[in-house]
């Protein structure tokens, strides 16, 4: 037999876990220390926000919450590379990307606090809300990209799933269609090694998830998802390519879910402790902070000031969240259809009347 096709998967990294540069030439944006500081500040803010959200859940002030601890570089890198006119189709922990796009932290808290108003968030109004059914959002991103392509708009769609999501048919269907139609879409797989309690090794026999792009006939790139410079660089490449009509890309970002899956999960039941301890040493904030310090752009005093500012901002957002109160009962019905059918008008009255009896 002869070989009729082969593939190779490229891996991108600039900063190793010790903050050593592994490549001589940095991407252009990374030569601008203000640009790096902007991303580092957001990563720090996300960390403070995430810690606070977990604390709110633990004290009964928030519902189940999906932590993003450890994913900050992947998420902020995505958000930093996107333009407002691009469209974002997240799963449910990409707060870093969303904050970069103008979503407010109290809106995230509203969603996890059981309030649909969180989905009516700030930022680009065409962005989709959080998507809980795994990988279904890959189709929406492909659909949005189809709309952009048909209308000849220089916009791209970006969507994120986890490693478990790549086992879904939706994942393959969407990348396959995007390949066939050369759609302006970037499919991100945030490979954090665990789909709740199922490790990657039980999820697939593939050595990389990026190579699953080969089956869709599209480019697949693996990136160190804890290296903000590498994530931003790969996303810039994929987005430029998409916006200039050169088709879709699959980006596998290697990261680690340091937290539990959600606050309803206890990862100590299934995950080796030393693996988590090792991951903590490689987490994304440490290395970019060290790098910024090494180049003289950051110091302990600035760090202290930043964390105080983040805490203050997060507190202000928590206040907004707590002040939001319960939405009106009628709002369950008001947005079901543009033109509410009679039966629903009657049910709305019934629910409002019922609620009026118990305040």
């Amino acid at each position: 037999m002869k070989t009729v096709a082969t593939f190779e998967i490229k891996y991108q990294q600039y900063l190793d876990p010790e903050a050593k540069l592994v490549q001589k030439k940095l991407p252009k944006f990374a030569e601008d220390k203000d640009e790096l500081l902007k991303m580092y500040r957001m990563m720090s803010f996300v960390r403070v926000f995430d810690t606070k959200a977990i604390a709110l859940q633990r004290t009964g002030q928030l519902g189940t919450y999906a932590s993003c601890l450890g994913h900050e570089a992947t998420h902020v890198g995505i958000g930093a590379a996107m333009k407002p006119e691009d469209a974002f189709f997240p799963m449910y922990r990409e707060y870093g990307a969303q904050f970069m796009r103008g979503v407010k932290p109290h809106e995230v808290l509203l969603f996890w606090g059981g309030d649909e108003r969180g989905n009516h968030f700030s930022g680009p109004q065409h962005d989709f809300a959080w998507c809980v059914p795994i990988a279904t959002q890959y189709h929406h991103a492909a659909g949005a990209a189809t709309a952009f392509k048909l209308r000849k708009e220089k916009r791209a769609a970006v969507t994120v799933i986890g490693d478990g999501g790549t086992s879904q048919g939706d994942y393959y269907e969407a990348i396959n269609c995007a390949g066939a139609w050369q759609l302006p879409v970037v499919f991100v797989v945030a490979n954090n090694k665990w789909a709740i309690s199922v490790p990657l090794s039980a999820q697939t026999a593939c050595e990389t998830l990026a190579q699953k792009a080969v089956a869709g006939g599209i480019e697949g790139i693996q990136v160190d998802g804890n290296d903000i410079i590498a994530v931003r660089d790969v996303m810039d490449h994929a987005l430029d390519k998409a916006r200039s009509g050169k088709g879709p890309t699959l980006v596998e970002a290697l990261t680690y879910r340091i937290s539990d899956h959600t606050t309803a999960d206890d990862a100590t039941r299934y995950r080796p402790k030393d693996e988590v301890e090792d991951a903590k040493k490689k987490e994304p904030l440490i290395r970019i902070r060290k790098y910024l310090m090494d180049i003289g752009a950051w110091d302990a005093k600035k760090e202290e000031k930043l964390l105080a500012e983040c805490a203050e901002q997060v507190d202000a957002e928590v206040k907004l969240y707590k002040e939001a109160g319960k939405p009106p009962v009628a709002s369950m019905f008001d947005h079901m259809f543009a033109n509410l059918p009679e039966a629903l008008v009657a049910q709305r009255e019934e629910a409002v009347e019922e609620a009026s009896h118990h305040g």
Binding site: A87, F89, E116, R117, N119, H120, F121, Q125, H126, F128, A129, P133, T136, Y138, H139, H140, A141, A142, G143, A144, A145, T146, A147, F148, L150, A157, G169, D170, E173, A174, N176, C177, A180, S331, M332, D334, H335, M336, F337, A338, N339, P341, E342, A343, L344
Partner: protein
């Protein structure tokens, strides 16, 4: 005015909207060069081009999912699912996303899409091609489900479905695709959604049906008419949400109700109609409500399909039972 069959009326409606609204696109398996396996999109790609009439990869969840993505970004996709038994992979997208995106974003995003699919049996089709699955969609909040029963209603209701700002599942009875040609004026006039159509007026019994079964129901009503029994015949048309006003008014007049549908009886749309009439008009009833429906079994292969589907005789038997009660 030429007489057209339902399948041609459906193509006419899509052509009208493609012509008049640049945000409308048609997509699905074999809808392009082939014009659809039932010919419902015949000639559309030749006329409007490959960007407006798109052959998709063979993946039904994809077809529904990309339609949602397109619709939420300002387009009006009209997606075709090739055969009725192939619609189930779309359920995830329809119930989790199409039906709830508007409400879960509190009106920020909405999904003006149409999911068209053939429906029902009676044409000797292979397995998984003859399903009646309207009750499944009717149970999904946020989605309208429409089933036409004639060429003109197919034309007017499909126009309405495409123009509606919310998702519509449009189930087309394959048995009617080429039966009972009618004159249809291609004037772009839509018919109202959420409204029943009263096809025949009478005093003695109310007959409610939809899709292909409207025809058996009308034949039964005609036969009874010869015997001096007059029937109100209501075509439900929009299966969800149901226009109960029209049904209740009729039942309050006749005092008798027979519901005819091809889909299985258990938790069928007929059950919802019967329950609501029982709740709101039970004191008008002179007899128990009767349902004449398919059985709670998978649609059999075609040697037995006519034993599954309600015949005119079964409909007549059901009506007589109610008249004699």
């Amino acid at each position: 005015m030429a007489k057209v069959a339902m399948v041609e009326a459906i193509a006419m409606a899509m052509a009208y909207e493609l012509e008049h609204d640049p945000s409308v696109v048609v997509l699905g398996e074999d809808v392009g060069v082939n014009g659809g396996v039932f010919r419902a999109t015949a000639g559309l790609q030749q006329r409007f081009g490959k960007d407006r009439v798109m052959d998709t990869p063979l993946a039904e969840a994809l077809i529904a999912g990309i339609s949602i993505g397109m619709a939420a970004q300002g387009m009006k996709p009209v997606a075709e699912i090739q055969f009725s038994g192939f619609i189930y992979p779309t359920v995830d997208q329809m119930i989790n996303h199409a039906g709830r995106l508007r409400t879960r974003t509190r009106g920020r995003l909405h999904v003006p899409m149409v999911l068209r699919a053939p429906s029902g049996g009676g044409i000797h089709a292979p397995e998984h091609h003859s399903e009646s699955n309207e009750a499944m969609f009717a149970h999904m909040p946020g989605i309208r489900t429409v089933m036409p029963s004639s060429p003109s209603r197919a034309y007017g209701l499909l126009l309405a479905a495409i123009r509606d700002p919310d998702p519509v599942v449009f189930l087309e009875p394959t048995r009617l695709y080429r039966l009972n040609k009618q004159e249809v004026d291609d004037n772009g006039e839509a018919l109202p959604l959420d409204t029943c159509f009263v096809l025949r007026e009478g005093e003695d019994v109310t007959l409610v049906s939809w899709g292909a079964m409207v025809h058996e129901t009308l034949q039964a009503a005609a036969k009874l008419g010869e015997e001096g029994v007059s029937c109100d015949v209501i075509d439900l048309a929009t299966v969800a949400p149901i226009d109960f006003g029209t049904i209740l008014e009729s039942v309050e007049k006749t005092g008798r109700l027979v519901i005819v549908h091809e889909a299985p009886r258990n938790c069928g749309v007929g059950a919802e109609i019967a329950a609501t009439v029982a709740e709101k008009a039970i004191y008008s009833l002179k007899a128990p409500i009767e349902r004449v429906t398919g059985y709670d079994i998978p649609m059999p292969l075609f040697k037995l399909e006519h034993d599954y589907m309600p015949s005119v005789e079964r409909v007549l038997k059901g009506i007589r039972k109610v008249l004699e009660a």
